[in-house]
Amino acid sequence: MAPLFYILAALAILAALSVVLQRTPAYSALSLIVVLCSLAVVYLLLGAEFLAVVQVIIYAGAIMVLFVLVIMLLNARQETPTDRSRLARWLGAPLLVVFLGEIFFAVWQRFPPETIPAAPVLVGGPRAVGELLFRNYVLPFELTSILILVAVLGAVVLAKKEV
């Protein structure tokens, strides 16, 4: 199980690099699908079965299809590089390294790799997650339905001919 995690982690990081470095949005979208699918398998390894399937169906399926559709619709070509963000170019990489170093330091200080014992495997199948969702989180769950309704109405209004 552990080797598979590291293989998937390497794949996800490489694909994420490709998302950031590609100049053509369509290639970025395809790389993002690779990231999402490898993360779905990582979820499976961590016992989150339901979320792994939801990740593939909703993220890699529905959301990315929407992205690819918009890229196609707007005919998004290669972006033209500009030198306007000179500050970002010079300060970006050092700040990213500092940020990551800070997080790694905090994580290794707080959760050293060898000392935290894992809890017994708790499989998050549809039944377990569903029971929790409808017992402890009913109100947020119902509120998300209103959120989605408003979001769909908003999307229709925004994308209409005359705004």
Binding site: L32, L100, A118, A119, L132
Partner: protein, 100 residues
């Protein structure tokens, strides 16, 4: 068994890459995809903690994050379409009319 620190490290790397792309990229669709990358990094941290604490509440949180991400993608892409219709451009350098 994978140590929790390594899961959190992967999450941090993905989040950092997403944040870097958010700042560096000029295309508004790519910027949007970098936001999705950051959301996924946070989801991974939630699931890692859920596994190590033996508590399924984290997975319910991830479920809500995915639902909100779906709503956000629908609205965000509609906004991008409206912007493209009004400006005829996808580069954020052309969207500076509110700059002082």
């Amino acid at each position: 068994m994978v140590p929790l620190a390594h899961i959190l490290a992967l999450s941090a790397i993905l989040f950092g890459l997403g944040a870097a792309g958010f700042i560096v990229r000029r295309n508004i669709i790519t910027i949007f995809m970098c936001i999705e990358l950051m959301l996924n990094a946070v989801n991974l941290a939630f699931i890692g903690f859920s596994r190590y604490l033996g508590n399924l509440d984290g997975q319910v949180f991830v479920f809500f994050v995915i639902v909100v991400a779906a709503a956000e993608a629908a609205v965000g892409l509609a906004v991008i379409i409206a912007v493209y219709r009004n400006r005829g451009s996808l580069s954020i350098d052309d969207l500076d009319s509110m700059k002082l």
